[in-house]
């Protein structure tokens, strides 16, 4: 699997970005964030030098460059400095220093985020947690692990494997992304339909506030007293505090897993098959869908054995005791066949199962090989409206003249349309962005959400104005202020200012009346 950290991105991509930057004035952090900050860079660096060892502070432009963006490469911004603390004490010191000087702080894990959440602030520092990368404790009896935020997702499961345990949420980026990033985004994976998202698998956090105060929230025991701060912190995109330690739940590894691969001649049928599986009382361990454009991109890359004639394929996994898997697989196969699947193949070995999944897990990089750039979307919709959404996306492809491959966490209605574009062509990124915005707004109109697992970041900040009304947005701002009164943590991200929404609203209204007039309103 290739998840490419931004530091190692290919020459071609960098060139494309440079050309694009030349061709159009890039929207910068400030143009989307409202709060004005004016940092005295020299004073800041002096203070940080007292706080961190020399190798823990980067300030030369060539050292800052690798941090200018996260996985959403279209958005870039150099920070004033990058801090690389090695322990919680240094995290506290950096935050105190920034708090005193009124300097914005953007926390960063591995930088694989896809919504620009870790994109730096022009007047601020990046606080990288990458060096806090130790598994502090692994308790096989209590089935939990205590880890630092920079530990990679997969490293937890690797360490737990010796005890027959694993950490269930498995984002496709799991070889690179960190637990801190997972917590900040409430990340999911292909198995979260049955095993839950990050929020269902984290027991306790240590969080450092912008003032440098440490909070312990949650507990290794169930139902911690007081408000459910875990729920608030998980998915808060680095806006409320910096996570410095995480206790996760470990799950026993199922004895056996098998995956069925079903081909459908029609995407509507595939969508209906997803609903039929759930309606039959089955909660598969994973239920994923790929359309023809996605399988065509993936197959030459990984030779997963996908049916390239099919309009869509479904991958449906069952796990558990061998008896259970046999029983459930028989039911799954029957439902898929009754739903009109042309062919259903069930993996006959672990190697084959991994091969069927390899294609799905490599879908993003595979699409990345057939197009200079791609833009990954992340809306969620009610499962029953999958076909409608796909039809709409096909129409948008024609309207914008851009291709789109579709990969879905179908079981929980989470779409990942991958819009293909070429950043070196003037105007293409704008088109891709507008195309994406329409998909997100359509997700809301269909009764869903603008983001299932990638977060709002800077990317979907305008669409937040579509999903929420003023009273909810105001509540979000007040919540933020309860943690970070000065608004120093990740300014301009995740929650739009009301001013921005008013602007965005005006822009939309004069373009036409209601969007998607063909849809029933909710």
């Amino acid at each position: 699997m290739n998840v490419v950290p931004p530091a190692a991105r290919g020459f071609r991509q960098c060139l494309a970005a440079l050309v694009a930057a030349y061709n159009k004035p890039m929207e910068t952090a400030e143009s989307r964030s409202e709060a004005p900050f004016a940092t005295d860079r020299a004073a800041l660096l002096r203070r940080l030098q007292w706080t961190l060892p020399a190798h823990g502070l980067l300030s030369a432009e060539e050292d800052l460059r690798p941090y200018e963006c996260d996985g959403l490469t279209a958005w870039r911004q150099l920070p004033l400095a990058v801090c690389l603390p090695e322990n919680e004490g240094q995290v506290i010191d950096v935050l105190r220093c920034c708090h005193q000087l009124g300097v914005p702080v953007v926390a960063r894990g591995a930088g694989t985020g896809l919504s620009g959440g870790a994109m730096p602030h022009a007047e601020g520092v990046v606080l990288s947690l990458a060096r806090l990368n130790k598994i502090l404790r692994l308790d096989p009896t209590a089935r939990l692990a205590v880890v630092q935020p920079g530990v990679r997702n997969l490293a937890v499961s690797e360490a737990a494997a010796a005890f027959g345990l694993y950490y269930a949420p498995d984002p496709s980026s799991q070889i690179a992304c960190t637990l801190g990033g997972n917590v900040a985004e409430n990340s999911g994976g292909v198995h979260c339909l049955k095993y839950g998202l990050t929020v269902h698998n984290v027991l306790r956090l240590r969080v450092v506030s912008i003032e440098g105060e440490v909070f312990e929230i949650g507990s290794a025991a169930p139902d911690a007293p007081g408000y459910d701060l875990l729920a608030l912190l998980i998915g808060s995109e680095g806006m409320l505090g910096v996570v410095s330690e995480i206790t996760v739940k470990l799950t026993p590894k199922p004895e056996l897993a098998r995956v069925a691969m079903a081909s459908f001649a029609d995407v509507g049928q595939a969508g209906a098959a997803v609903a039929a599986i759930i309606a039959a009382g089955i909660i598969p361990a994973g239920l994923e869908m790929m359309d023809k454009a996605a399988t065509a991109a993936v197959e030459p890359f990984v030779q997963a054995g996908y049916d390239l004639e099919a309009a869509a394929i479904l991958l449906c996994e069952s796990d558990g005791a061998p008896e259970e898997v046999a029983e459930e697989m028989a039911r799954i196969t029957a439902v898929l066949t009754a739903a009109g699947a042309g062919e259903v193949r069930v993996s006959q070995s672990e190697a084959e199962r991994l091969r069927f999944w390899a294609g799905r897990k490599a879908a993003f990089p595979a699409v990345g090989r057939i197009t200079p750039d791609y833009y990954c979307m992340d809306g969620t919709i009610p499962r029953k409206r999958l076909a409608e959404m796909l039809t709409a996306i096909a129409a948008l492809e024609r309207q914008y003249g851009l291709r789109c491959a579709n990969v879905f966490h179908a079981g929980d209605g989470n779409l990942h349309p991958l819009i293909m574009y070429d950043a070196s062509q003037p105007g293409e990124w704008d088109k891709a962005e507008a195309f994406g915005a329409e998909i997100l707004e359509l997700s809301v109109a269909l009764g869903g959400s603008i983001t299932g697992e990638h977060g709002v970041g800077i990317e979907k900040i305008n669409q937040m104005c579509v999903q929420y009304a003023t009273p909810e947005l105001e509540t979000f701002h007040r919540l933020k202020a309860a943690f970070d009164e000065g608004g120093l943590l990740n300014p301009g991200k995740a929650v739009p200012s009301l001013h921005r929404c008013a602007e965005y609203g005006r822009m939309h209204v004069h373009r036409g009346e209601l969007k998607f007039p063909q849809l029933e309103r909710f």
């Binding site: 290794a220 408000y227 459910d228 409320l240 026993p252 209605g413 309860a482």
Partner: protein, 363 residues
């Protein structure tokens, strides 16, 4: 007590309380009046604001108004072979003085889960969205009906367990799940220590465990899942089959079992691996050892200290008013956390009119 039927009534009642700085206490079926801090403020009876608003079995969600009885919701789900997997208690027994039983709003506000919690998740794990009227009378919609939604802070889950101190939950959407195809219960004669040892060992294996209950030298274990898997696990684990198991689990869930009787009951939440505690009066344990019930005369501070030393926390679950008033129901928060709680309370209820003191005496 004022009774409200519509959303407009709720909003009007909160606005009036806000304007006059009068404390108000949202109440569903009253089945959990005994739980938490003392009751203060006029009761706002939400049992009239009821009804299932939307239920789509193949989308795995159900939306209902706050006053909808859990009994009605579960009957509707059962018709489609589905359930609330967190098994929240109804507490509808006449002995508990609440004939209506738990409502959806109270279930979300109290956040109490039942026997299936350790495997399936707690109430908060199933909340997808809420309609909340805050302490100023504003109507707020958070979350939605889809399984995944990370837009904005997760307020819907955050308010679970807030006991009416942050807003009136007017409507909630829960994720629902299919009922397991098969269930079986096995019983084992063992000491508390043996039970804990076994439960932690089994918990680390891929077994379809769905509930545990230890009381008076007997451990009951429920297995749920595919028929073949349940049968295989029963063979592997041994133990005695149990007749009328469903009624027995019902008695645990509803706390009508003798283990929960009496005027004083402590609820200790612990890491499952915590060894038996040096505390007298153990009545029962559930959740693979993660939840232990005590009826003890020990000083409250001592009970709390024992729980904390074991990595958990103790709740004065049921107690005479005087004791609850003096000790508070929930383990005290460290100062920094308490200050944060106060700020968060202010976000939703700036005048502090909603259920003051129900969670902590300080707000």
């Amino acid at each position: 007590m004022s009774r409200v039927a519509t959303l407009d009534d709720i909003v009007a009642a909160i606005r009036a309380a806000h304007d006059s700085h009068t404390p108000l206490r949202p109440r569903g079926g009253g089945s959990k009046d005994f739980y938490g801090g003392l009751l203060a403020g006029d009761a706002l009876d939400l049992s009239g604001h009821r009804g299932i608003v939307a239920y789509e079995p193949s989308e795995l969600y159900l939306t209902a108004r706050a006053g909808t009885p859990l009994a009605e919701i579960e009957a509707t789900l059962a018709e489609q072979g589905q359930m609330l997997a967190c098994e929240p208690p109804h507490f509808s027994g006449a002995t508990l003085g609440a004939t209506l039983g738990a409502t959806l709003g109270g279930t979300v506000a109290a956040g109490l889960s039942g026997p299936r919690r350790m495997q399936a998740g707690a109430v908060r794990d199933f909340v997808l969205g809420v309609k909340l009227i805050d302490g100023t009378g504003q109507t707020l919609d958070f979350g939605g009906q889809v399984m995944k939604n990370v837009a904005g802070y997760d307020v819907s889950r955050f308010i679970v367990g807030s006991l009416g101190t942050l807003g009136v939950i007017a409507e909630a959407t829960l994720k629902v799940l299919p009922r397991p195809v098969a269930e079986a219960t096995r019983q084992f004669a063992c000491t508390e220590a043996e039970a804990l040892l076994w439960l932690n060992e089994w918990g680390g294996q891929p077994l379809p465990l769905s509930a545990s209950f230890w009381h008076d030298g007997r451990l009951s274990l429920r297995l749920s899942g595919a028929a073949a898997a349940v049968a295989a696990a029963c063979r592997r684990l041994g133990g005695e089959p149990v007749a009328e198991a469903e009624a027995a689990w019902q008695a645990v869930r509803e706390q009508t079992h003798a283990a929960y009787a009496g005027p004083l009951l402590w609820r200790l939440a612990l890491p499952t691996s915590a060894p038996p505690l040096a505390l007298d009066g153990l009545r029962a344990s559930e959740w693979g050892g993660g939840l232990r019930w005590y009826a003890t005369d020990a000083e409250p501070a001592a009970v709390r200290a024992v729980a904390a030393a074991a990595g958990g926390h103790a709740t004065l679950y049921r107690a005479p008013e005087s004791l609850r008033c003096r000790e508070g129901a929930f383990a005290p928060l460290p100062p920094a956390l308490l200050a944060l709680h106060r700020r968060l309370k202010k976000v939703f209820d700036p005048r502090g009119i909603l259920s003051p003191g129900r969670l902590y005496a300080e707000f």
